[in-house]
């Protein structure tokens, strides 16, 4: 009996060499990283229907606001259309922001999932963080510049070219002046992060990003089927 058991053990022992090793491809992911990735995945879609919805809506509101303003004689309706013009231009600015904003959570997510890098040194981490913050500051500045510039133009048109009630012409000119000041300020003033990463030169193009040592073209055209 004992001899039979020893014989079976001796036969089976070499076969254990062919047993499958437990998979080592699934590494243990840190809980904090897992939580961050999940939150970033939820925020991935910043748009509801398509990525140009803000710009399309803004342009539609701007066009309809101007057409309606010209077409109506009623003072109350002119005021309402002026509100629509403002909403349209504000949404255009928001579209510029979305076009240029790096989305901080998604940027960190890309850093954590970059398979070419196993880790980050302190200098590299600092450069990545400065890049993200500089892009965010630039997106906000460009959004403010374009929305206030278009508002200045719109209010000046309402006051001087369109047939507006006399009582509101001065208000339009005042609003145009305020927006012109803000537009001028946002065109010249850069935050420290922006100056460090993009340089000191004037930078107002929402489609082209100019770096001190290189130029990247940022215009994209996508067709979905």
């Amino acid at each position: 009996m004992i001899k039979a058991a020893l014989l079976i053990t001796l036969i089976l022992l070499p076969l254990t060499g062919f047993a499958r090793r437990p998979s080592l491809s699934k590494k243990k992911v840190d809980k904090s990283i897992e939580f961050f990735m999940e939150e970033a995945r939820k925020e991935r879609s910043t748009f509801y229907f398509n990525e140009y919805e803000h710009m399309i809506s803004g342009l539609a509101a701007f066009a309809i606001g101007n057409i309606g303003y010209l077409a109506t004689d009623s003072a109350v309706l002119k005021l309402a259309y002026s509100g629509i013009q403002t909403i349209g231009i504000v949404n255009l600015g928001r579209g510029v922001y979305q076009r240029n904003s790096p989305s901080i959570k998604n940027s960190f997510s890309k850093m954590l999932t970059n398979k070419k890098l196993k880790g980050y040194t302190k200098p590299r981490l600092a450069r990545e963080l400065i890049k993200i913050l500089a892009q965010e500051e630039r997106a906000k500045r460009l959004s403010l510049f374009y929305s206030t510039s278009f508002l200045t133009l719109q209010y000046l048109m309402n006051a001087t070219i369109y047939d507006s009630p006399a009582r509101v012409k001065n208000i339009y000119i005042f609003l145009a002046g305020i927006n012109a000041i803000v537009a001028g300020y946002s065109s010249f003033y850069k935050s420290n992060y922006e100056k460090f990463y993009f340089g000191d030169s004037i930078d107002l193009n929402p489609f082209i990003v100019s770096l001190p040592d290189q130029t990247n073209f940022g215009l994209t055209l996508t067709i979905n089927f």
Partner: protein
């Protein structure tokens, strides 16, 4: 007195009796702006009870409350801003009453209407509290060109309501599930109203307070709503609502017997609605349609003229509305920013239906502020 004169007088009185008795019922009026109305529900001709997952859904049908995820404080107003009624009302109030004015009023339209609604709402995931400080309605009907008289219906209603909704059947997260939701609203109202008749020339010699005696009424009523969400594109969703349950608003006997008094419908008395509609979401925007039928009391009677069709397209920040019925045709646009929403709509309307000789062209403005 000769026999001939007696005979003539008898014939004349008989004719007068026949003319009056041929129209025993008051003029029934309908209005697009109703209590708890928003710009969206008004422009859709109140045909929106199946349009779920929109900011205005709960103003159309409380059974859509479980689908809403917008919380916060909202201040909204909707009112008629332009049209014949506005101009005529302004002339009657501010200009002297002259023969030319009377002739013009009778030639253009002898029925004028003005409505306005305002709401302050607090919404969260569990319930919605809404306070409406003003629901204003002013209907003015001019008749008898030889000696002009005005039939005036004036209403100011203040309402405080509490509403909520829940899922009865189905799982909200599962898009392939049949879902049945229930919604309800309980509200307290306080109303000042006057339904009166006076001569046009009385306006020149008397103060309006002497001509218009306002009557105060108070009460509590409720709305009950159901919504069946069917997960197939070709089969429309179904909604059913009972409005103003427990309302004690009844037609006064004198009002019903009068040929010239104005009686509003589908506003304060108990009535029901049935809706069929669907929403489609694509990458080019969201499309919705709805067919709504209004029925008096607890599903009594059927009149095809009380059916309206609503269409809605939205690309998140810009929305297009269409509302069509036999007596109302509307088209409108609204524009959203984060805290501010403006809407403008153009309408052709006949508030007194076939008794109105032509459609009145009006413009409505809606404003919503989100805090």
């Amino acid at each position: 007195m000769t026999l001939l004169s007696i005979f003539k007088r008898t014939i004349a009185r008989g004719c007068l009796f026949l003319l009056c008795s041929s129209q025993l019922y008051a003029f029934e009026t309908t209005h697009q702006i109703r209590p708890h109305s928003t710009f969206e529900s008004t422009t859709l001709a109140n045909s929106c009870s199946t349009m779920k997952e929109n900011k205005f859904s709960t103003s159309c049908n409380m059974a859509l409350f479980p689908y809403s995820d917008n919380s916060g404080i909202y201040i909204s107003t909707i009112g008629k801003s332009d049209g014949d009624s506005i101009e005529n009302g302004r002339d009657l109030i501010f200009d002297p009453i002259t023969e030319d004015l009377i002739k013009r009023l009778f030639q253009e339209t002898n029925f004028n209407s003005f409505t306005f609604n305002s709401d302050v709402s607090l919404k969260n995931q569990l319930f919605e509290i809404s306070y409406s400080p003003y629901y204003l309605l002013a209907d003015l009907y001019l008749f008898n060109p030889a000696f002009p008289e005005i039939s005036l219906n004036l209403i100011n209603r203040e309402t405080l309501s509490l509403s909520s909704g829940l899922f009865l059947l189905g799982d909200k997260e599962n898009p392939h599930d049949f879902k049945l939701t229930l919604g309800s609203k309980v509200f307290y109202f306080r109303q000042e109203s006057a339904n009166t008749l006076f001569s046009l020339f009385d306006l020149s010699f008397n103060q309006p307070e002497e001509l218009i005696q306002l009557k105060n009424t108070y009460g509590v009523a409720a709305d009950l709503s159901f919504f069946l969400d069917i997960p197939y594109d070709l089969i429309p969703n179904i909604s059913m609502q009972l409005k103003n349950i427990g309302s004690k608003t009844k037609d006064e006997e004198a009002l019903v017997q009068s040929a010239t008094r104005l009686a509003p419908r589908f506003l304060f008395e108990t009535y029901a609605t049935i809706g069929l509609g669907k929403t489609f979401k694509t990458q080019y925007g969201s499309f919705s349609y709805n067919i709504e039928h209004f029925i008096e009391s607890y599903f009594e009677g059927f009149d095809i003229n009380d059916t309206t069709i609503g269409g809605y397209y939205s690309l998140r920040l810009v929305s297009l509305f269409l509302g069509i019925g036999k007596f109302y045709q509307n088209i409108g646009l609204s524009f959203d920013s984060e805290n501010f929403n403006v809407g403008i709509s153009y309408s052709r309307e006949k508030d007194i239906k076939d008794f109105q000789n032509r459609f009145e062209k009006s413009a409505y403005i809606g404003l919503t502020i989100s805090l």
